[in-house]
């Protein structure tokens, strides 16, 4: 069996949501945090001569995110779409993705972005890995190796951890670690000449309606409120010494220097 990487991606909503979002081609795009995950997978595919599968769960418009991934070089795109999935929280999303990964079969690596730009939870990666019972390393900056033996580096604020493990393993890829490639006009054109996105529904995954969507989701977003940042501009006057002292007084009062 050849070397195989699966990347879970998402078509996110752009712009700040207000109320119920109506999805359209104009407000949907591939989650920017997924680009490094795709890039990392594609580099390793080229190195190890394997293949990359991208999967996404979402409305039909999510197919465009898969097409974009395929224009970058992904070999196979799978869209999991079903009206019953509407309202799914991160746990249900993870359940669905885990079921899809199981159905795909053998894989060496399973990648995620660190989070999504529209809901920002960062939960789907680790939850999916847990359901599949594969090790998960978050925020991977670099990795090398082959099927049996991998060295993986992950970054933390002031530290870098190095892990050794064997396939299969899963990870979220640090957003700054792999600069995504530019899409060639020819590869985009070729992908659309023979576009083939597989569509799976709940029945393909042996999942029941009551396990997914709002019904299957233990969590609910009850309110969404845009934060207001109030900023004040205070003009300081006088010579430099006076201004400096006044500035220090202000900063002290604001608790910045305390």
């Amino acid at each position: 069996m050849t070397f195989h990487i699966i990347v879970c991606i998402k078509s996110v909503v752009t712009g700040a949501p207000s109320g119920v979002v109506k999805r359209s081609p104009q407000n949907s795009q591939l989650n920017p945090f997924d680009w490094p995950a795709l890039e990392a997978a594609l580099q390793m595919k080229e190195y190890n001569k394997g293949s990359v599968t991208a999967i996404t769960m979402g409305p039909a418009i999510s197919g465009e995110a898969l097409a974009e991934a395929m224009a970058m070089g992904v070999d196979r795109g799978i869209l999991i779409s079903d009206p019953a999935l509407k309202g799914s929280d991160t746990l249900v999303t993870s359940r669905v993705l885990a079921a899809a990964v199981k159905r795909i079969g053998k894989f060496d690596l399973l990648f995620f972005g660190t989070r999504t730009s529209d809901s920002d939870t960062g939960q789907v990666g680790p939850q999916t890995a847990t359901l599949l019972e594969v090790p998960f390393i978050s925020g991977v900056k670099q990795f090398e190796g082959q099927v049996g033996d991998w060295t993986v580096e992950r970054g933390m604020d002031e530290w870098e951890e190095t892990w050794r493990l064997s396939s299969p393993w899963s990870a979220s890829i640090n957003q700054h670690a792999y600069a995504p490639r530019s899409i060639g006009l020819d590869s985009l054109s070729e992908v659309f000449d023979r576009i083939n996105i597989e569509e799976w529904s709940l029945t393909d995954l042996d999942l029941a309606t009551e396990d997914v969507g709002l019904a299957g989701s233990p969590t609910r977003v009850v309110a969404l409120k845009k934060l207001r940042r109030d900023r004040n501009c205070i003009m300081l006057e006088g010579d430099a010494q006076v201004q400096m002292e006044e500035l220090i007084t202000h900063l002290n009062k604001a608790g910045v220097l305390a």
Binding site: Q29, I183, L185, D186, S189
Partner: protein, 389 residues
Amino acid sequence: MTEPFLTAKHRILRRSVRSFCDRELSPIAAQIDQEARFPWEVIEKMGPLKYFGIQASRELGGAALDSLSYAIIIEEVSRISAAIGLCLSVHNSVAVFPIMAFGTAEQQQRWVSELARGQKIGAFCLTEPNAGSDASGISATAIQEGDHYRVNANKVFVTNGGVADICLIFARTDPAAGRKGISVVVVERGTPGFVVGDLEDLCGVRANPVSSIRLYDCCVPKENLLGQSGTGLQIGLVALDTGRIGIAAQALGIAQASMEEAIRYANQRQQFGVPLSRHQVIQMMIADMATQVDAARMMIYRAAWLKDQHQTFTKASAQAKLFAAEAAGKVTDLAVQIHGGYGYSKAYAVERYYRDARVTRIYEGTSEIHRMVIAREAQKEIMSDLHIA
């Protein structure tokens, strides 16, 4: 909302081109304008991504995209740098395209395979000091002598001239035959007698090395004749029909960028205690800009779509070019006005857009020539509908 004419391919294309231009071109766009410098470092990255072979076949190293994709690419590149959008438009539509359309298989292999990969850059050499809108008035000659042509020409305002490797030269192969004695001969840089003149010191699109090209007794093999002898003007017109879509898209990109800058500025700048955007007089300007930009975009996409459907598009592309160029003039003017004194300063991008927009009403057919084309085509259509003629 879904935009008419566009498919998923076009939307992904727009995002990809935009993200490439934001990353590679945007940081240097103002600087290359100031220095009048052709940015080889970006051009070299565009080559492998097939920006120089947008519609060329894949066998020849191109991307084989449709005309709508071509328009979107030129629009997006021009949104960041009109000079580079111009480079791509001319290279793709009036250098590569005529060779694809009229060249023999050998000629395509010989020239397009390198042009499409961006290894060589193309130019279209029609204009002369005394022949512009009246292309039939050229005095360049290409006289056949045995197995070669001896070419003498003085071509001016050649877009990409300073860097062009493969030049389509319009010249008289039969000086006695008038309009029917004009042909297209391909002359490569490096041919003895091929001289690149000084770069023009232009008002806008300054990062494009526009220059004159002079040919002194340049001898090229007779296999360098493109299409049939005497069909030069027809080849030129077909090329320009397509070229217009590119120049229209370039004008649209400039207008779009100006509108974005103007709206951004109008929402930041405070006067009389509120942002400019709260003043009704500024809102009127923004409304006009948005309407001009959208109308231009729809006309361009329609022309490109008609071409992709293999329908007649001469009038549609002339209308799109005329309207988009005029719109770019209006929109950049309003954008400068909204910026006030700052808009007149090189510290703000709208100053560059204002300069870049002006030439779109002049090259690849002036607005006046386009009105002539439109008037002719419109009358033909109506008269034939009315069964007159």
